[in-house]
């Protein structure tokens, strides 16, 4: 079944109905983000059932938002209420831009990053916070053992669906006790919400950290057992020796995707066309399924699948159980798309992958119906159902794709609610050419109650 097929039609029907008809729907909320880089990760996230949506917005959506900075809001699709959540531990609105919100599966917890001032010179550094929306409390997660703000920048947070584990990257060298072998190089850390324990997990299967390279952009499975991340360090458990050249002659390292099994204490590289054979290009932006089996990622490597000839970034899914890697961002002709595809999000079971692509042949190639054409030369948001082998563009309407840029998708656990941002006007009055939030709800899903 193709859940997303009726999106464009339903979008136009919404103007005439109360939204109760069957069919995919598109909803909007203001973010007024004029500065979001086009390759930036998602500025919104969805709870497991699609009910709650966390997003960063420069718009003042509630009376308490008195600043002009980006704040974190959580929207409840069931009640229609939006709440401001970017408060510090002292209960006051955080003064800087807050971003990168990620929700626990039940919507209780939201993690985000924001700049805080810790030193006497007043230098702001990005740090990671956890907001408990039930208790109404916020705590700094990227803290040194004595509770201080650490000596480096922390960001890229993600939280497990069950809310027990938060992962993030940091350049700080004092987050955990002991020597930080790579100094100010980025490492990935895991915070256990229950025990408040923080540990570095960008290590090899012997638990050793490399002195070279950086690790970042973590994604965590449903219970926190598996963490996928990017690393330019050489972490494969099959290698015992480091292959480090003198810096002056070493080629610029590129990132591979690794998966750390936190419980078993193992780390494995998944960007390999064959056992022990590394990908021949950089990979980044991993998104791991709830059970840890599937990992979606972007890569410019052209040896991960056969006939990858576009010389551009593609989105792949690696099945850790079957040890296979498949191309997701495929052309309607079945080969690689004629553009770059990045920033995947994956459903809990690995079936649905949402991503952005500036390719123009993902829906149709050659002679296209007017509504299927893609002429904007910019990123659009697509959803690919791996089981049905169907590709749909979400950033469009019945008359065709939008002319404006879209990206930064996130998905609910079942892949039926996908959020993304777009510069497309949210209504006739929107002439800002800034990014706003779009919520795509697949056919048959719950509509807002007003």
């Amino acid at each position: 079944m193709d859940r997303w097929g009726a999106l464009a039609l339903a979008s136009s029907l919404l103007a005439q109905t109360d939204g109760t008809q069957e069919g995919a729907r598109l909803l909007t909320a203001p973010q007024r983000d004029a500065v979001r880089p086009r390759t930036a990760p998602a500025t919104a996230d969805v709870s497991a059932d699609g009910r709650y949506i966390a997003f960063a917005s420069y718009a003042a959506l509630v009376p308490a938002d008195t600043g002009d900075r980006a704040d974190i809001y959580v929207l409840d699709r069931q009640t229609g209420a939006v709440t401001l959540e970017s408060f510090g531990a002292d209960g006051r609105l955080l003064p800087g831009d807050t971003g990168h919100p990620r929700l626990s599966g039940d919507g209780r917890y939201v993690v985000f990053d924001t700049a805080v001032i810790a030193d006497a010179e007043g230098t702001p550094t990005l740090q990671v916070f956890l907001r408990d929306r039930v208790a109404g409390t916020t705590r700094l997660l990227s803290a040194a053992p004595d509770g201080r703000v650490p000596n480096g920048r922390s960001g890229d947070p993600a939280i497990s669906a069950d809310g027990t584990a938060v992962v993030f990257s940091s350049s700080a060298t004092d987050l955990v006790t002991g020597r930080d072998e790579n100094g100010p190089g980025l490492d990935v850390y895991l915070y256990e919400v229950g025990t408040e324990k923080l540990r570095r997990i960008s290590v090899d299967s012997r638990g050793l950290q490399r002195s070279q390279g950086s690790s970042y952009a973590p994604s965590v499975s449903g219970t926190g057992q598996y963490v996928a991340f990017v690393s330019t360090a050489d972490l494969p458990d099959s290698h015992d020796t480091l292959r480090v050249s003198p810096p002056s002659i070493a080629p610029k390292p590129f990132g591979h995707i690794y998966v750390r099994d936190v419980r078993a204490g193992t780390t494995a590289r998944i960007t390999e066309p064959g056992p022990g054979i590394p990908a021949n290009g950089g990979s980044w932006a991993p998104a791991i399924s709830a059970d840890g089996r599937h990992v979606a990622f972007a890569s410019v490597a052209d040896n991960l699948v056969l006939r990858d000839r576009n010389r551009a970034a593609d989105v792949f899914v690696h099945d850790r159980q079957a040890a296979t890697t498949t191309l997701v961002s495929r052309s309607a002709r079945r080969g690689s798309a004629n553009g770059a595809s990045i920033n995947p999000a994956i459903s809990a079971d690995g079936r649905v992958v949402a991503f952005q692509s500036d390719g123009s042949d993902l829906i149709c190639a050659g002679r296209c119906r007017p509504g299927d054409e893609d002429i904007n030369l910019l990123f659009d948001v697509y959803v690919y159902d791996r089981q049905a082998a169907s590709m749909r563009r979400l950033s469009g309407s019945r008359s065709g794709g939008w002319l404006e840029e879209s990206g930064g998708a996130a998905t609910s656990a079942d892949g039926n609610v996908i959020v993304f941002t777009s510069r497309h006007p949210i209504d006739r009055k929107d002439a800002g050419n800034d990014f706003d939030l779009y919520v795509a709800v697949a056919a048959g899903q719950q509509e807002i109650r007003r």
């Binding site: 919404l14 709830a290 089996r293 850790r320 159980q321 004629n338 030369l377 006007p425």
Partner: protein
């Protein structure tokens, strides 16, 4: 066949078993409800309704678009009749770092082309776009076509990268220029809207 117009960029700058673990129960909404009305609002999420492009507050030619007295009435009529051209002008007007001038050319502006836009980078990240047109019957289409090339640059589109891909909607032209399906469609859309508006 002559090209409608082209864009010339002179300066552009080991796995264990997998237990399912995503069955997360949604908590009762009361547990996450916020009592403070200052921190809560409603009616933020709205159905998306496809609509015509937002019209600018005034139907004036953008201040950063310099046109001759010959072209001014033409552009004003385009603004009145074409939502697509209004969208284009809104983008141009909002780009403070951009200066556009439109002028006639009395000789071919490029091999096989009736119009072209040459971009140069000025001081302080200023982008200067000079549109040169040969006066023809389809000048409305040409103007809108070239303005869309300017918006492509505002959008940061890497024409080189797209032109390297098959059927991407960008192709190389003579003299290091590019042609795009996007600009062709925009030009035709404005021409059609003006034609319908003139009836």
């Amino acid at each position: 066949m002559l090209l409608a117009g082209v864009s010339v960029i002179a300066v552009v700058s080991g796995v264990p078993a997998f237990a399912q673990s995503h069955a997360v129960r949604v908590r009762d909404e009361q547990t996450i409800a916020h009592a403070d009305p200052d921190r809560t609002s409603a009616g933020i999420l709205r159905p998306y309704t496809p609509s015509e492009p937002a019209a600018p507050a005034t139907l004036e030619i953008p201040g950063n678009l310099t046109v001759s007295d010959v072209h001014r009435p033409l552009l004003e009529s385009m603004l009145r009749a074409s939502p697509t051209f209004r969208r284009q002008c809104a983008r141009v007007a909002a780009a403070r770092e951009l200066s556009v001038s439109i002028r006639n050319s009395h000789q071919p502006v490029a091999p096989s082309a009736r119009a072209r836009t040459v971009f140069t980078a000025g001081a302080s990240n200023r982008l200067v776009a000079v549109v040169e047109l040969i006066a023809t019957a389809d000048i409305i289409e040409l103007v809108a076509h070239e303005i869309e090339h300017i918006i492509e640059q505002l959008d940061g589109i890497d024409l080189h990268a797209h032109a390297a891909q098959a059927t991407s909607g960008v192709r190389h032209c003579e003299g290091g220029a590019f042609e795009t399906t996007r600009a062709i469609r925009a030009g035709r859309a404005v021409a059609e809207e003006v034609r319908r508006g003139g009836r």
